[in-house]
């Protein structure tokens, strides 16, 4: 390489970007093919803005605020599902996720656990709820259980990834000063990973708030249930109230939970300080 540079300071040859070209043409072809293949009358899109204005007026010009108490009650039920689902899911994921971490559990235990998480990740929450409702019926409890079990898939993965990415120095130090397994976990691992695990647990709750609204669609109760019913009856003034409630509640929970997560991850002193890199 260097020998060449000494001799001829000619401009380097233009990079042959054949691979890039082929890739971009392939992507373009796939996208165009997908557009063409879809059974959509794109003419309908022209009516969409008009439709949106029409239904938007129906929903938001004169919302039926008398439905607000019922909407808030159903929202609370959804949030309850999300909270209990998050609590149970996080406890289960922590119990299952710790042995699945490299360096904690043996290989014969790690592999089946990780396989289990992958399988759960693949099954949509709605399908999990369909299975569970044969046991507990169409109740909010079913929703909470579905959220808990569906959450294990991703949450246990985050748990073992967090543990694996913890810096090993602290653990080594505890071990070097004579700590056994329990001391290593308590003083070496726990202080390092607990802030991130707590933050992830809150994040799980935020996700569950959204998912619980989806589970309402199959009838386990909560705001999603109410929304489906009123949409199907085309009572748009009530649907408007419900959408406003969903947006306000979700955004408030996100804001509160996000503030707590920042506080956990960055500590009290970091507040109000711009994050540097």
């Amino acid at each position: 390489m260097t020998a060449l540079a000494v001799r001829a300071p000619a401009a380097p040859p233009k990079p042959r970007r054949l691979a890039v070209k082929v890739a971009s043409w392939t992507v373009a072809a796939v996208v165009l093919g997908a557009f063409a293949g879809l059974d959509i009358d794109w003419e309908e899109l022209r009516e969409l803005p008009g439709d949106l204005v029409h239904y938007g007026t129906l929903m938001f010009s004169d919302p039926d605020w008398s439905m607000l108490p019922e909407a808030l009650l159903q929202t609370w039920r959804s949030v309850s599902m999300a909270w209990l689902g998050a609590l149970l899911g996080v406890v289960l994921s922590t119990l299952l996720g710790i042995p699945a971490a490299e360096g904690v559990g043996p290989l014969w235990l790690r592999l089946p656990l990780r396989g289990l998480f992958a399988v759960i990740r693949a099954v949509p929450e709605v399908v999990i709820a369909i299975i569970i409702l044969t046991v507990t019926g169409l109740t909010p409890f079913t929703g909470a259980l579905a959220l808990a079990i569906g959450g294990i898939g991703t949450h246990a993965k985050w748990t073992y990834e967090t543990i694996e990415s913890a810096p090993g120095g602290v653990v080594e130090a505890v071990r070097a000063s004579g700590g056994g397994l329990s001391e290593t976990v308590r003083w070496g691992l726990w202080p390092v990973v607990s802030p991130e695990l707590a933050s992830l647990a809150l994040y799980r709750f935020e996700i569950n708030v959204r998912t619980s609204a989806i589970l309402g669609l199959i009838g386990v109760g909560g705001i999603g249930d109410m929304l489906t019913t009123y949409t199907q009856h085309r009572q748009w003034d009530t649907v408007g109230v419900l959408i406003i409630v969903v947006i306000v509640v979700t955004m408030s929970i996100d804001a509160i939970s996000g503030a707590i997560r920042r506080r956990i991850m960055e500590g009290a002193k970091a507040r109000g300080v711009e994050r540097s890199s």
Partner: protein, 275 residues
């Protein structure tokens, strides 16, 4: 929290600082968690009724279904190709449209590329609102508006994808290396020149990986979009559920899993090439 072992035999017995009193805070946190849990588990207040008796009584039903799902019925496969193709097409179209819309929106939502604070706040607020509505809620309402089919599904996917892609890409721009943009400004570039020549090239990798991620999520989501009539393979899932064909249901779930894994592999390859 930090219980450093008191450095034992120093010379003049240094004053050990008093142990920080953390128990009131810990107690407070535990109390808040306990109260919230108790409230959410009180049916009288609208919470969830925890019915452990039902589990003890009916757990065989669930085990039965899981048992059925563990023996996938592959004979349903030929019927899944058409809906699966539709799902993939919807996912690609949704990701493509949202990817195109996400470029200007991300630039508007990030601080270095949009110095106009009120405009930036407005864009961010609208995006937060879009993100706050769950995907299936969009689908339900859009199906009621424009009718059953792939169109409401695609619109749902676009709205959902814009929410996540713009959020993550604009955050990437926010934390991108500001020196290049400063250099562009110092050289007399207009804001749009700076955005195009310094901000965008830095964020392409983040952008592409987010778009690929949204494609993967789209395949997952369209598994359930069909439940409300928004097209794709979810329609078949709903049908199989109606007929109690849980063995066929698990075949479809497996199929989705394979597609998602393939997309994940493709996006890993693409991401490596972009570095």
């Amino acid at each position: 929290m930090t219980q450093a072992p008191a450095s034992s035999v120093a010379k003049a017995a240094p004053q050990v600082p008093p142990k920080p009193r953390t128990w009131p805070r810990t107690l407070g946190i535990v109390a808040v968690l306990a109260v919230l849990t108790a409230l959410t588990a009180t049916p009288a207040l609208g919470g969830v009724e925890i019915d452990l008796g039902a589990i003890a009584k009916n757990w065989t039903n669930g085990a039965d279904r899981i048992g059925k799902m563990l023996t996938p019925d592959l004979s349903v496969l030929p019927r899944t190709w058409q809906p699966l193709l539709e799902t993939l097409q919807m996912a690609v179209v949704g990701a493509a449209i949202s990817a195109a819309l996400a470029i200007p929106l991300s630039l508007w939502a990030a601080r270095p590329t949009n110095p106009n604070a009120p405009f930036r706040a407005a864009v961010r607020f609208v995006l937060n609102v879009i993100r706050a509505v769950p995907d299936l809620v969009y689908a339900t309402i859009l199906v009621a508006m424009v009718g059953v089919g792939a169109l409401p599904g695609v619109i749902t996917l676009v709205l959902f994808d814009i929410g996540i892609v713009v959020k993550l890409v604009s955050e990437a721009i926010d934390s991108a290396d500001a020196a290049y943009m400063e250099a562009g400004r110092a050289a007399g570039g207009t804001q749009s020149q700076i955005n195009r020549l310094t901000a965008l090239p830095q964020t392409w990798p983040a952008y592409v990986s987010q778009v690929m991620y949204s494609l993967e999520l789209n395949v997952r989501i369209s598994a359930i979009l069909g439940l409300v009539g928004a097209g794709g393979i979810g329609r078949l899932i709903d049908e199989m559920r109606g007929f109690y064909r849980y063995d066929a249901l698990s075949t479809i779930v497996l199929e989705i899993l394979i597609v998602v894994v393939l997309i994940e592999l493709a996006s890993n390859v693409l991401r490596k090439r972009l570095r």
